[in-house]
Structures are given as C-alpha cells and as structure tokens.
C-alpha cells in the first residue's frame, strides 16, 4: 500500500486545509483554508509541494502521527515542540520550519503550541482526499471537505500522494519568519460601515486593547473590551462578510470574521483587517490582547506586496514558484497536486 499517515492522537482540533475553496461565496460557502497562510505555505514549500497543497492544521495541541507504508519527507511549521520516535532509534527532537526524512514506522509527536495557536504538518506529495467543490479544505460547520468534513480522530489513515521530486533538507530562516509576520498592532482599514460609529467611538476602538475570548475559532474571534457604541443601532440589511471583517453587534463587543465565516451578516462592520496581517491574527491565543491601528489603503497594499514578494522569492528558491495570486488560480480549478 502507498504511504500514508496514521493518526495516533488527533490533538484538540486538527483539520485538513489546502489553500481554500474559492469561488463559492455567492452561494454561501466560505473559503476556509489555513488560519495562518504563511505557516501553511512554508510547510508545503519545504517538502516540495505546491504552496496551496493540503496539509494538517493543528490547534493549540499538535497530536501524534505515524508514517506508514514507506518513508516520507515532512515539515512542521509553527512554534511547537516536535519529537520523533523512529524504529531502532532513541527519541529525538526535530526542528520546526525544516524538512525531515522520516522512515516508515516513525511516530511524529507535536506538542502544545508554546507561542501562537496553530501549527501545520505538511508531507511530501500532500494528503490526498476527495475534493469537495474543488478543495480539500475542511469546513466542519457544514461537514464539507477534509476527512468526512470533520476534525481528525485517532485511527484515521490519510493517504499521501507520490512526491514528484527529491527534496533537499531546507530551513525557513528565523529572520524571514519574523519579516513575514510583522509585529505590533493589527492593521485595519476603516469601513465598510464606519459611518455607523461616531469619531469618538472609532478612536475608542483604535485606542483600546481587546482580549481574544475563549469563544474564538476558525469561524471568527469574539473579543472582549470596552463596548463600542453605534450611533443608531447595530443592525444593517445583511451584506457580505470578508475575512477580517470586524463586526460590532448590539453588545458592542467586536467579532472578527475569519476563514470559516458565515458569508453574509447583519451587524455593522467598523473596520477590516488588512490581508498582510491575517496570518499573524490567526496565531492569537484566547486571552491574548489584540490592538488595532488604522492604515491607508496604499499602506495596506504595500504591506501585502511585501509579504507576497517574500513568500514568492522563497517559493522560487524551493523550485515551486507560487502562481500568483494563488487564490485566483484556484478559482479556475488549478489542481493541488502534480
């Protein structure tokens, strides 16, 4: 039988995600895809996959996974402890953000996230599952994609495609990680319904720190902080919600819509997180404080351009130039494997 990964322990909330299920938002289907697209892409590139190939997204706690049926190149991205038990060897620690060759029978253990909220496991050849609406991404809310539309469970076996090329062991350097994610307050553009709020309330929103609540998941983050008041009520006639839309419901406590979001909603949206800061936002832990800073569209696009350029340069070094922008390409049915 071909090479596959067998799940020994699944972690807390581990799902299969590829680049995303684009092109169906007008039919109520959110794109899903990785909460941290930087870590997801890098893990894939390091094992020689296309950047948008299907990989595991682990949440808060990694889990343990056995390599069955053959050897396999793997990479885990994220700030997490990584251990491997290989047949006939003592347990050893492996570096994250680096390619490793694992012998058949090896068991990879991914620990608690030390910093951040999500880690990714990519395997050379990528996980192979039936595509739903063109994507392997899991949307648990609608039981779509991935493994039967659910989180991984102990005993699951996920087949791996044939790796096309031998891959040198590579590392994604620390300074490049830092440069990609950036630091500081999360950048936003005001709108689309910032006119539902007074200038004073917008200042209050931008000046405050908000705690990421425990009720935060792939659908969105619920924040806790000073209540943001509307001028004339929170309700709008429902319109589209994008990744990063910051809705203010009647309670005044913001909700940031993320990748498994509902595609439409009826609360006024004060601001939207910029594209370049979504991956970093995807790593916020419950209890952590998030702050926002308002940017101009030009500054936001510049930061997006810089991120795309950094990832693109690394992808080219890996021999896997990213067909940019890959979201667009997926709209047109580009395949996820060779």
């Amino acid at each position: 039988m071909s090479v596959r990964i067998k799940v020994h322990s699944p972690g807390l909330f581990t799902t299969l995600q590829d680049g995303g299920r684009f092109g169906y938002e007008h039919q109520g289907v959110p794109p899903s895809g990785p909460m941290d697209s930087i870590a997801h892409r890098i893990a894939n590139l390091l094992v020689g996959n296309p950047a948008n190939a299907a990989a595991l997204e682990m949440t808060a706690l990694g889990g343990s996974f056995a390599v069955v049926g053959g050897d396999c190149n793997v990479c885990v991205s994220g700030r997490v402890q990584l251990l491997v038990d290989s047949p006939g060897e003592v347990q050893r620690e492996l570096e994250t953000w680096r390619t490793h060759r694992l012998a058949a029978g090896s068991v990879l253990s991914v620990g608690y996230l030390e910093h951040g909220m999500r880690a990714y496991l990519a395997v050379a050849g990528a996980f192979v599952v039936p595509l739903v609406l063109g994507s392997a991404s899991t949307l648990t809310r609608a039981r779509l994609g991935g493994i039967e539309g659910r989180c991984l469970a102990a005993g699951d076996e996920i087949p791996i495609g044939a790796a096309t090329a031998a891959v040198d062991s590579r590392t994604f350097p620390r300074e490049l990680i830092d440069a990609c994610y950036g630091t500081g307050a999360i950048g936003v553009l005001l709108g689309p319904q910032d006119d539902y709020f007074s200038a004073g309330q917008i200042d209050a929103f931008l000046g405050a720190g908000f705690k990421v609540s425990a009720q935060s998941d792939r659908m969105g983050y619920r924040l806790q902080g000073p209540a943001i008041a509307h001028r004339h009520g929170a309700d709008i006639v429902s319109d589209a919600i994008v990744a990063g839309s910051i809705q203010i419901p009647g309670s005044g406590q913001p909700i940031i819509a993320l990748h498994d979001r509902q595609t439409t909603g009826g609360y006024a949206k004060i601001a939207t997180v910029i594209a370049a800061d979504l991956p970093r936002l995807g790593q916020y832990q419950p209890g952590q404080i998030v702050r926002f800073t308002a940017l101009s569209i030009d500054d936001a696009v510049e930061r997006w351009r810089a991120l795309v350029a950094r990832l693109g340069a690394f992808a080219a070094q890996c021999g896997r130039p990213i067909p940019f922008p890959e979201e667009n390409n997926m709209n047109r049915g580009v395949t996820y494997r060779d």
């Binding site: 684009f22 092109g23 169906y24 938002e25 007008h26 039919q27 109520g28 289907v29 739903v132 609406l133 809310r141 609608a142 039981r143 779509l144 553009l189 005001l190 709108g191 689309p192 319904q193 709008i236 006639v237 429902s238 319109d239 589209a240 994008v242 990744a243 990063g244 839309s245 509902q262 595609t263 439409t264 909603g265 949206k269 939207t272 997180v273 910029i274 594209a275 569209i297 936001a300 696009v301 997006w304 351009r305 795309v308 940019f324 922008p325 979201e327 667009n328 709209n331």
Partner: protein, 251 residues
C-alpha cells in the same frame, strides 16, 4: 424594462484592502436587488486575475479583487463603466415550484405562529404559499436562500431562544423574511414546514439549486407525498428542476 429615472448613484465602501462593496441602498426591495444582480452579472463576466469574486446581497454587492493586479481606482472606474448601461429588463430568471409539507413534524412552529397572528394554520399556509418570492441572496451557510416579500401579516419576531439544530430543508420565517434552509444548523427562525428538496448537495453535478434572482413559489404537499419525494431524491430518482418560463415576464 428600463430603470425608472433618477436612480441614486451607488456608494463605494472599502471592505478591507482586497474587497470593495457597492451599496445601492439600505432597504430590502426588488428594484434595488435587481440593480445589485445586474451589476453582479456584468462583473462576473470579467472575473479573472484581477476581479476574483462577486457576492451579491440584498442591496449591495461586494467585489473581491487582487490589489496587485488592479488598483482600487481602476476597479472603481470599471464598475462605473458597468453601471453606465444599466437596464433591468434583460435579467433572466428561473422559477422553482418548491414542494413544502407544512405543519406537523415538518413544521413544528406552524400552530404557534398561527395563534400569534390570530389565524388558523390553513390561513398561514395560504398566505405563505401565495406569493412569487424572489431569491434576494444566498448566504450565511452553503446554499441558504433568503426570499423577499413575505406577506406583512406573517412578519414574526425571531424566537427568544434559538434552536441548536434545525433540519435541512426547513422553510422558516424570521422577522420580515422567509428562507429555505440548505443544511442542518442552529436557527432562531420559526419552522413552518419542510421541503424534501436539498438546496445544497455537494455530490450533485449542480450542488446549488437556487441562485440570487431566481423566483420561488411554495406548493403545499401532504406528509405522504413528502415521504415519497424524499425517498426518490435519496435514491437519486428525482432531481428538482425549475419550471420553464419566458425570461421577460415583468411583474
């Protein structure tokens, strides 16, 4: 039909650095929704590297774009050009006769809702199945169709406590809206009935039945018919189809 004169110019609203919302108004009405859908159709025809996606809703549409391929200014100019030839008569639409088993197990809130409005369940069914509804938007969950123009006499505030799980195919009323639920999920709306049709089935060649702009008429059926149709659909023997209709039939 041409547009009545003096249609308000839409507003452009930033929805982040990769999406632009074009807002035609702030009300739920058929004319506004037609303007939304016409622009959506025109922009969809230009989808590609630059314009990535178009999501039409009740009274606005949100255009996803790649800012490294088209600038915000250029996108605005493109949209303004699309609006220049605005004409609403040519929008084709499909009509669906959707079978619904009202009341009983299929619609456990029918009697309560009727009592709230001092009506009999039969009167509620008659009012609910009389109009030709327009699908104003599909959203929230995969394939979930929001219908406009619910009879005012049936407007009902949502339940104080939402149900954690309601079945796929539920025909619901919430506030001034009615909807066809596509997948099982939590809901604070009132359950009037259920259709054996599945408006979302990812295994089907056409996974989504309804699109924004379609017309829907509810056809009451009995519990036996419901069971038979549901079984036929499960077996794959029956596939919901729209009725044929002249594209130009203004109401």
């Amino acid at each position: 039909m041409s547009l009545p004169p003096k249609q308000p110019t839409p507003r452009f609203l930033l929805a982040g650095d990769r999406a632009l919302t074009v807002e035609f108004g702030q009300t739920i009405d058929a004319l506004t929704n037609r303007r939304v859908q016409q622009l959506a159709a025109r922009l969809n025809a230009q989808r590609g590297d630059a314009i990535v996606g178009v999501v039409p809703t009740y009274r606005s549409l949100t255009v996803s774009y790649e800012p490294l391929r088209i600038s915000l200014d250029a996108l605005r100019a493109k949209i303004v050009a699309c609006l220049a030839g605005e004409q609403l008569g040519s929008v084709p639409s499909r009509r669906w006769l959707v079978p619904v088993c009202y009341g009983g197990e299929c619609g456990e809130d029918l009697e309560t809702l009727a009592a709230t409005h001092d009506m009999t369940p039969g009167e509620v069914i008659a009012l609910h199945s009389a109009p030709v509804y327009r699908v104003y938007m599909v959203g929230f969950l995969p394939g979930f169709a929001y219908l406009g123009d619910l009879d005012q006499r049936l407007h009902t505030p949502r339940r104080a406590v939402p149900r954690p799980l309601t079945p796929a195919g539920s025909i619901n009323v919430g506030g001034q809206q009615t909807a066809i639920a596509s997948v099982a999920g939590p809901s604070g709306w009132h359950l009037l009935g259920r259709t054996p049709w599945r408006s979302f089935d990812p295994q089907r060649v056409n996974p989504f039945l309804f699109a924004a702009g379609d017309e829907v008429v509810f056809t009451p059926i009995g519990e036996k018919d419901y069971a038979q149709m549901a079984a036929a659909i499960d077996r794959g023997d029956d596939l919901p189809r729209p009725v044929s209709r002249e594209p130009e039939d203004e109401r």
